[in-house]
Symmetry: C2
């Protein structure tokens, strides 16, 4: 191990130290450095051994990397984990969370007491030392552990910093100038989402992003070369990154700090630091997959401790000198924030307008009056319009004037209508296409990373940035895992998913979602909204904009739909409401529909009423799970399934509709390639066919006195369009 004392001299000689507040005036002794690193290793071994589970390997192998980060390289204030100009740390290799927890403890985050850390894998519900880092807890930027997500999250944080800096920083007022550190293993680099995010960061030249690769050459199933033989450094260079390498990252703290210093000074591109380490170093199975995700065993833990000069009988030992070692970082962070607060105070006076907006955004507020900017129903176009177009109208009335929104598309900006006049692109200024103040993000054809990047934008400081992203509906399926993470973290985004249902038409079954929307309905903390017309599109935007806690996807049509008389943006907020038929009078038949089929359901209702004496109600249900959360009374008043026959109409699979309907008109296969009008007829969604099918099904259910129904019970749901031939 190189003595750190020598190193700091090497690194910082000839450099004006006053310019870099993070370089310690006096380095610690090599002995202390060693003790710190060994303490982390022994803690890792002990904490996994206590409940015989967890991931000790990385804690031990990457202890020096973590020490470098928290001691020398990162800017943070343990007393205020929410300080907005802190450096961000994202543990993309989330299973190594114990390493982060130990450092949060040692560096002085009061919540992370030794007692809390001991709850790692404990049989309790009240711990914060979860099996993967969770966003709820101080010092954790985002919940990670699904591999690759963290790299994309970090790219989002780096974009947020760049955009905030470009928007608010002024000469001598670097309000936002922090770095984003992302710790990755090989798993995140193998995952497609990681590679998408790396390509994005290189493209945008995000030089505030440092990706630290714990290259331990081991994966769960063996040595890494059984499955992964990319020349990663060369690859990252080809993807527009600076690349640094460190040979002995388990021991050579000096070299690591040097690389981190270098990375902080490099400009124009993000920096990738390829650091070779030995997983589980010092344990019997060091350097093998066996120490990745299993405790070492009592004997091995004891051996490790003995070898490192610790008493094998003592557990969870942290000497005072180890805490002392980090105390400097703690006071440095407090001073950093104090200075920043002073700077902000001066900024408030020098640039009151920008400062007010900055403050408003940190408070999580949108620009006032946005709801009034949405065009009222009476001014909406009367001719049939695709709901994707209507969404564009709403977007243009709210988004351009509020810097809170970072909008973007997976290469479908125009056909998803998320562009506006005079928009500036978020681009590397060198590119000539825009600059970092731009709010239109060209995500490229990388949907999965797009959503995970949005999670980073949203997590940067809750409410300060509202990401809006777009793609064709089916391509959101590529991002399913990231969407789930948004909902789990309660990080909002507004997703514009156009070309929904079989209305896609000619592109055919590959592009026609029939089951994916049902996943979004089942997902907790999620708004899946399928508006019927331009008025409901306004309602969907209002719902998504008002919900500061949950992400939303607006499910929109490619094909035109008429503006309906009964639609109401305010009622969209209830999830479902009566859009046709009497509100007072009990209907004989209730049709529930969503999105582009609501107009078809209304046509069907009219036909049914004409052809029979039935009173028919149509319920528009743009938001299934929002309706779920309404009172029993409201739900019964809208869908009286205990008195009226209820039929759902939606060209998705029927899964889930049995909750409210006695029968359904749905898809049983994947669709077909043909113009949408042909498809709707073919698959039975023509109003004439629907009316006939419903009437034939209803007729025998009239009860003996001729005005009530023998209502089907639970278990008797019928598919009325189950014989759709020629589909996939």
């Amino acid at each position: 191990m190189s003595p750190i004392a020598t190193h700091t001299q090497d690194t910082h000689h000839g450099k004006d130290l006053s310019k870099d507040p993070h370089v310690p005036a006096k380095a610690s002794s090599p002995e202390t450095e060693k003790l710190v690193i060994n303490t982390i290793r022994c803690l890792g071994a002990d904490l996994c051994q206590q409940y015989k589970g967890g991931h000790p390997g990385t804690v031990m192998g990457a202890a020096a990397i973590a020490t470098a980060l928290w001691k020398y390289s990162m800017r943070y204030n343990p007393a205020n984990p929410e300080w907005v100009n802190r450096d961000r740390f994202v543990l993309s290799a989330g299973h190594a969370c114990l390493l982060q927890y130990i450092l949060l403890h040692l560096s002085g985050y009061s919540t992370w007491s030794l007692d809390q850390i001991k709850k790692y894998h404990a049989p309790t519900m009240d711990g914060i030392a979860a099996g993967h880092p969770e966003i709820e807890f101080p010092g954790v930027e985002l919940t990670t552990g699904l591999l690759g997500q963290g790299i994309a999250n970090a790219v989002g944080l780096a974009i947020a910093n760049k955009n905030m800096a470009a928007t608010y920083n002024k000469q001598d007022y670097p309000i936002i100038d922090n770095k984003v550190w992302c710790f990755t293993g090989d798993g995140c680099l193998q995952e497609g989402i990681g590679q998408e995010a790396i390509s994005m960061a290189g493209h945008w030249g995000l030089d505030n992003l440092i990706l630290v690769y714990d290259n331990n050459s081991v994966t769960v199933d063996g040595t890494i070369d059984i499955c992964f033989t990319d020349d990663t450094s060369a690859k990252l260079k080809a993807m527009g990154w600076h690349v640094l390498e460190v040979d002995d990252g388990s021991n050579d703290l000096a070299a690591i700090v040097q690389a981190f210093d270098k990375a902080k000074s490099l400009t124009g591109k993000p920096t990738f630091i390829n650091i070779k380490t030995v997983i589980g170093i010092g344990s019997a199975n060091q350097g093998s997959g066996k120490v990745h995700g299993a405790a070492l065993g009592e004997q091995d833990v004891a051996n490790v401790k003995t070898a490192l000069g610790f008493d094998p009988k003592e557990k969870f030992v942290v000497q005072q000198s180890v805490y002392d070692y980090f105390s400097e970082s703690k006071s440095r962070g407090a001073k950093d924030e104090e200075e920043w607060n002073k700077l902000l105070e001066k900024y408030n006076k020098a640039y009151p307008e920008q400062a007010a907006e900055f403050k408003r955004r940190l408070n999580g507020e949108l620009k006032e009056g946005w709801e009034n900017n949405l065009p009222p129903k009476e001014s909406l176009p009367k001719d049939p319009k695709a709901t994707r177009q209507s969404s564009g109208i709403m977007l243009k009335s709210v988004i351009p004037q509020d810097n809170s929104f970072l909008v973007g598309s997976a290469d479908l900006c125009e056909s998803t209508f998320v562009n506006w006049d005079d928009m500036v692109e978020f681009q590397n200024p060198e590119s000539g296409y825009g600059d970092y103040s731009g709010r239109q993000i060209r995500y490229g054809i990388r949907e999965h990373a797009m959503v995970a990047v949005a999670n980073g934008l949203s997590a940067w400081h809750k409410g300060a940035i509202v990401p809006v992203m777009s793609s064709y509906f089916i391509f959101w399926l590529y991002a399913a895992a990231a969407i789930r993470m948004s909902a789990l973290m309660k990080l909002r985004f507004i997703g514009i998913a156009t070309h929904d249902s079989i209305g896609v038409g000619e592109d055919g079954p590959t592009h026609q979602p029939v089951a994916f929307p049902l996943f979004l309905r089942a997902l907790p903390n999620f708004n899946y909204i399928r508006p019927a017309d331009a008025e409901e599109v306004a309602g969907a935007w209002i719902l998504a904009l008002k919900d500061t806690e949950n992400p939303s996807i607006l499910s929109l049509t490619r094909q035109p739909v008429p503006l309906l008389e009964g639609t109401d943006r305010n009622r969209v907020q209830f999830g479902a409401y009566i859009v046709h038929g009497s509100e007072q009078e009990l209907p004989d038949i209730t049709l529930i529909s969503t999105g582009s089929e609501v107009s078809r359901a209304i046509e069907t209702a009219k036909l049914l009423s004409e052809q029979s004496s039935y009173k028919v109600r149509v319920v528009s249900m743009p938001h299934y799970s929002r309706f779920e959360s309404q009172s029993k009374e409201y739900k019964k008043s809208i869908i009286p399934s205990n008195k009226s026959l209820v039929v759902a109409i939606e060209p998705y699979c029927s899964f889930g509709w049995s909750k409210y309907a006695h029968a359904g008109c749905h898809m049983t296969g994947f669709g077909h390639s043909a113009p949408y009008a042909v498809l709707f007829e073919h698959f039975g969604f023509g109003p004439k066919n629907l009316a006939e099918k419903i009437q034939n099904w209803a007729k025998p259910k009239r009860n003996s006195n001729g005005n009530g129904w023998d209502l089907p019970g639970v278990g008797e749901f019928e598919e009325l369009l189950s014989n759709q031939n020629q589909g996939h």
Copy 2:
């Protein structure tokens, strides 16, 4: 345009032409070559213009590439598109399908008549010229169009070829020696799945794979450098590929053919050919995104034709000389197959055993007797076992002895129990880890590509290869889009998804699926099977192995579950059956459960019976949608929801259960990090709590005469565990 005559001399001089049957003895005249390419361009313009939709840009820009492929480079026999030793062509950029359709027509695939091609975007249901290529139709290997999937499919085809060759080829008997050609745009290269697949192919050194990049520098939203600035050639080199480049790929047919020849001759690595083209060449908006996905307009089509020497008034013109040009390829293909048939005949005699197995596999049959190899219930371990372990027992009893199975894991081989003694890894022989005859595939941490690669394996020749893959359940969500494609194409795989539900335990909510399984239930053509114990695991394997049409996922536990008295592998085939309680007597209460909670439901049933006079039945429903497809009578006999109170118990969200149950015990959030036993208690899945909740709910529903129920109707489904605090 370089005259092709000159080129063929350059390329083939000094080469023994007799060794390469694909090089034409006499090249066509430069005029003919030009006419062919221009014919393709004009057809593309006409076919998009007729219904004012489609993708003309690539047809025009890549006409020369396609000409090179179908005229000179690919081995195929239009008279028998299923010839097993044909070269495979995968159009990863599926939206460019019109180019493929035109070449299938010109090269003599009889199904692809000019009339059929004219149905591109036509308002009919009976065409085969779908908006994206579909597997059902001759000359199309797989349905593509969801970007990036095709590259991974092609990797699967290349693995299949390598594995079949290594298994069956003998000295002088190259039964399988074909190439896989994959045509890609930038979209597939930007997608994570594409990058995962590229990394795999490089790792395995698949030198039978040639990736042809139509590098037109344009994407939908503009020039490619607005979002994608990787140095793609350098990147592919770093990922273990040979890289070739062609400068003028829209015109220089000679250079393209030369590159293809070179690619066919290169060994040890797959080859990437970066071919610069001009999208929509010759049209007014050539080289811009405007010609990507929209017809050119009447005037521009006319102008293009005039410029290319065609009569602007004539449409769909193909001169006889164009057909003649390709006729040579057609007869060459017929000859190739004829020779191959002779070779196979000799092989049948020389190696009868291998030949018989080869034939069996081409017939889509598994090795006889596999079902008897599965251990019978009485020999299954009596002590509680995780269903993932039981699955390992079944796998080992069937998989090792049948070459039909290509097994693999996303770096979780051991903990998903898909390994076996003496297994050989599918590896580049150079690696020292295995060889191409190996049947254990190290997919790395690349789940999305893993499933799409399996689609390629499965599509190689239907039934010849049965891919088996594994990962933790939640990581299958990364592959959702590829899983959907498997179901859409009806390509089977057997997916081993371990660590399901909150039983994952300490890894916490990131790893605990609560909604994703519901997507798999909703998906058409898909087997989502959640077995309750080792016996049902046997049933799940039988179901998956017998279903030659549909992909399956076996949803398995990390935690141990007991072997249950009432489970029955044969009844698993019905989707659901009575596992506890009388089959004849009508139950008061019916509990439906799945997987690891069936044993909890049985405990609950016992408690309920003890504590009250209720007769309680427990139904195990390992396969929801298989049960859906049973007769009404069977369904009612198992779940008498018109007479019995029905409660579903499953630690997923309740979505979908209202179809059969009046109430449910489910998750309302994402879970928590703690040991599984703690979680099940906390979230209310302890039998004591379940019994209490169910009893309290049931009691007031007793009707006045005291032995029947006032059954809740549709719309009255209740969540009995809706107040789960401390979850996410």
